[in-house]
Symmetry: C2
Subunit: 598 residues, 2 copies
């Protein structure tokens, strides 16, 4: 069975010792009173919910899955899911980072982010029911009318209602411009919406009285492509003026998908038949609201893989200490046992440390992104808001793709630690691999993320935002350039920073002549950028650890951080050399393959 | 739905044009009459069986799985599996490479190998029922008494009975020295065997009247560890002197495992209660017979991943041509359609070509290994037999680990081509990923393979066999060193060959001082060695293609081979740079992690 203890100390380290979030929050009026103790107390409690309520339902939820009654279109979630959700809203967890205007607790995004990391470790499939609500909430908060906000946000804040994103159709996922769902304007200002959506996570379930669907559709006179898409609120049940539930709306679940993983989450085919909705934002500008949801979802997906990486690591570590098999190559370690615990073997340590390093790096990036989101939305200084928004835009595809690819590597490595037992469902390790696999696909495949990063976020502004990230590295080099002990952590990052500058210029130049060069380099480019970002955070984590040790700390926690950083730079970071090399071989070798792909 | 057409032309290319197997077979008396046409004809027919009989049962077999009646211990395989097996033995397929002495067709191993590639593409779970028999057959053929052979081999040849390998126990997989199953000698020369085995593939099923278990167990006076292990034949039903079936033996299936993949194969917990068996080979020398089975099984596992790589490639290619989504970055390609087929996107091509290249390289290695096996067993010249055996010993861990890791990369890439649909069971792509995942684990995890390669096969003889492989590269350089057109294919292999020599010396030197250095470098080392081997074969495939084109051929098949080789050297081979770099960072950074792994 997997093991999970919320990594509170690791979270505190990143938040308070490395990134000093409380200092930044003091600059933001609505959070000026938040201190580290408050954050820690909330996360302690949140960790208990994750470990004690959500985690025990993970394997059973996977085994049982969701079921649909094809006559009533009702979906039943696995045993215990509904009750856990009731505890979740009773505990006020749904409201954590929501606006107090709608009944929220108004805590910073970073608290919600770390809480969700723990929920994702505990049970990704369950967590998607409340998780999807946040994207819908954000889109409504940004683009909804006052009336829409008043009608829906309080119940979404309390968690009494959940939300969905209805984007994909059978013939279009990435390419939403091909969308066919139609919205017919009615005399009363509402719209009648008809069409078929697929892959709608948490599209139907038995946890709440109502579900608020945010649906993309096309008006009759809409221009073709994504410039003709509008966003609508389509509630499962209409809401009366007094807030009570009215008639059932014409949106229902036509079937559930059979999937590789996240079995506990209902992935629905949604049928809309003259479903009545109201428009969110302007006609034909639905992509704006969609991107609010999508950017939130992308950070959320990265966080899902962070959670899975952490729980896979903890479970494999426990097994590696317990399972005895063979003797250490360098001589017997456990003389009292017939064999040594497998943690004595170098490659077992390599697999474990791979997961540990990707969890630590991923957590730093997630906290950093949460704070950028906070500044973008709530900082009093417009320039800070703008800069934070740009940096977040740069880092979002990295947080999505790099963390989910790392989750793939890490969960597979941790499963491998279990040998044959890793393949057996009861041990729970193969579920982490299966659940993680969707994270590399949904909310924009990782290829799409890489094109977003290189094409739009980097080359789109001539590398200006990337250069700003480079300045953070420059600042660290300035601070620590003469500190010999920091050299092993700073030097590789500084070198890669320089290489990235050249690499970016090269790709930009080639892409200018042939756009396929961008498509050919993008996936490799994103992974290099991911390591640049991780390398920077590992250097900063090492900086804090070295300072604490220099100041006399004997807490092995700091030694652990140094060991992890050293492992990262020795064993994971060097793939950047190959990635830049393969990217430089360009697009010709990919595109001149018509005979091989005949 | 997945698509599969047996890649007969690709097989013929490797067998007849690149490796010229018929020429080698002429040197071997028992195959002197075999020509290319015979091989091709058998494979054509075999391909029909794979594509038309086994393939249609792949998804249904996964969905249905195997079931056990806990009262009778009877196991039922998925619908259609039994009937397909009947067709298989009626067609004489079980007997393909078996000795005519026992009713076999006596065809070369390479024919059976290519036939099994197709079966593995079609249905890995089904293929394991006949597949496991080959290992048991080989162990009996090598170490059995004439009586044992006469009793069991004819029925195993015809496929009327299947075989198993019963090695693993709950507390020991890798470390067979910890084995507890006991064998008590009886007055009549037989043994009564008692113990529990787990993870026994095809351990019980409804396809045949009898199952011949090859069981590792320990005699009462056996020395501890693997030097005290003996091998026994334990039939499910005893066999009377006249060949008819006698009483039920005390070996039965206690339960089936719930697994990530290969659901159609019964992975059994086997209980032995005073099961009567006869010893195979000498007492306490059971590991010899075990290794005969194991080496066959390791090549077989590599072949499983080759099969999955090929079918995943074909399926993803068909989808990429059919699915339209977005426009090409370099301008509209399909003007008559609302979007371009996704094969226009460079990264989609990269994912497809990754699978294609790993299939082509893997097939070359499999054919090469089959021919070495042939020479080792059947060549009239003792020196040839010995050399072939040594080279095969070197290449076996590469064929197992490199091909299965590549299968992981390739099946995941092909699943990714499908976007969200890749995650949905009905499309069949995620099954290839799940089925492949066990290949990296069973018959010795890929870490164990890497230790076998580096520790035993390379450093164990001071790199002598590796140097022989280097000579093959040297010969190619000599032949083609002045051919400018070959330079792009030969130069990287020649350079890597030189680097490997230094790299091996370094690791050997460090390992001499500290054995953990071998454990730390082994996995990276195996992957570099895999690319050296693949690089050599890709250069030889390019050589043939260039010659054909120079001779006037306009067959696009040869262009395809050049494109694939170019892709391989540009995008896949360069990871060797990182692998050697990370291996060189050594064991300290792995072993000094006690705080991080506390």
């Amino acid at each position: 069975m997997p093991t999970y203890t919320p990594p509170i100390r690791d979270m505190q380290f990143v938040m308070h010792e490395v990134l000093k979030v409380a200092d930044d929050l003091k600059q933001i009026p609505k959070h000026a009173d938040i201190d580290a103790d408050t954050i820690n107390a909330v996360l302690e409690e949140g960790g208990k919910f994750a470990a004690e309520v959500a985690f025990p339902l993970n394997i059973s939820g996977d085994t049982e899955g969701c079921t649909i009654d094809q006559t009533t279109h009702k979906v039943t979630t696995p045993k215990g899911f509904k009750e856990a959700y009731r505890q979740y809203i009773d505990g006020g967890w749904a409201a954590l980072a929501c606006d107090p205007e709608y009944g929220g607790q108004g805590l910073p995004y970073v608290v919600n982010g770390m809480f969700y990391e723990m929920l994702n470790s505990a049970n990704q499939a369950w967590t998607m029911y409340p998780g999807l609500t946040h994207g819908a909430y954000a889109a409504l908060e940004t683009h909804g009318t006052p009336e829409q906000k008043a009608t829906y946000l309080p119940k979404m804040t309390s968690g009494e209602w959940t939300g969905t994103m209805c984007l994909t159709e059978p013939h279009c996922g990435t390419d939403l411009g091909l969308m066919r769902t139609k919205a017919e304007p009615q005399a009363d200002g509402t719209y009648k919406i008809t069409g078929n959506k697929i892959f709608i996570s948490a599209g139907e379930h038995d946890m709440t009285d109502n579900i608020i669907h945010l649906v993309l559709a096309r008006l009759p006179d809409a221009p073709p492509g994504i410039k003709g898409i509008s966003l609508f609120i389509v509630p499962k049940f209409h809401v009366n003026a007094d807030g009570s539930l009215g008639e059932r709306n014409g949106i229902y679940c036509g079937g559930l998908e059979h999937k590789m993983g996240i079995h506990g989450n209902a992935t629905c085919q949604m049928v809309l038949e003259n479903a009545v909705g109201t428009i969110v934002g302007q006609a034909n500008k639905g992509m704006q609201g969609m991107f609010v949801m999508m950017n939130a979802a992308r950070l959320g997906v990265g966080n899902q893989s962070l959670g899975l990486t952490e729980v896979a690591f903890q479970s494999a570590l426990a097994y590696a200490k317990d399972r005895i098999q063979m003797r250490s190559l360098s001589g017997t370690k456990a003389k009292d046992k017939p064999a040594d615990p497998i943690i004595v073997h170098p490659d077992v340590r390599k697999m474990l440390m791979t997961a540990r390093a990707y969890a630590d790096g991923g957590r730093a990036l997630q906290v950093y992104c949460s704070m950028l989101l906070e500044k973008e939305h709530n900082h009093p200084d417009e320039k800070v808001r703008k800069d934070a928004g740009e940096m977040l835009a740069l880092l979002t595809p990295i947080a999505k793709a790099f963390l989910t690819d790392n989750g793939h590597i890490a969960t597979n490595a941790c499963m491998q630690v279990f040998g044959g037992h890793g393949f057996i469902k009861e041990w729970g390790m193969e579920q982490f691999v299966r659940d993680n696999r969707i994270n590399m696909i949904y909310e924009g495949t990782n290829t799409i993320q890489s094109l977003d990063l290189l094409g739009r976020k980097v080359l789109g502004n001539n590398g200006a935002t990337l250069k700003k990230f480079g300045k953070l590295i420059g600042k660290l080099v300035e601070e620590e350039g003469v500190n010999e002990k920091m050299s092993e952590f700073i030097t590789p990052v500084a070198i890669l920073g320089d290489q990235m500058t050249k690499f970016t210029t090269e790709v930009g130049f080639k892409g200018f002549q042939n756009p396929d060069e961008v498509g050919a380099a993008a996936v490799d480019y994103l992974r290099v950028a991911g390591h640049l970002v991780f390398g920077y955070f590992f250097a900063r984590m090492a900086q804090v650890a070295l300072r604490e040790i220099a100041a006399g700390s004997t807490d092995p926690f700091y030694t652990a951080k140094l060991q992890t950083a050293r492992f990262y730079f020795a064993k994971l970071f060097p793939e950047t050399a190959t990635l830049m090399r393969t990217a430089r071989t360009g697009s010709k070798v990919l595109m001149d393959t018509d005979a091989a792909l005949a």
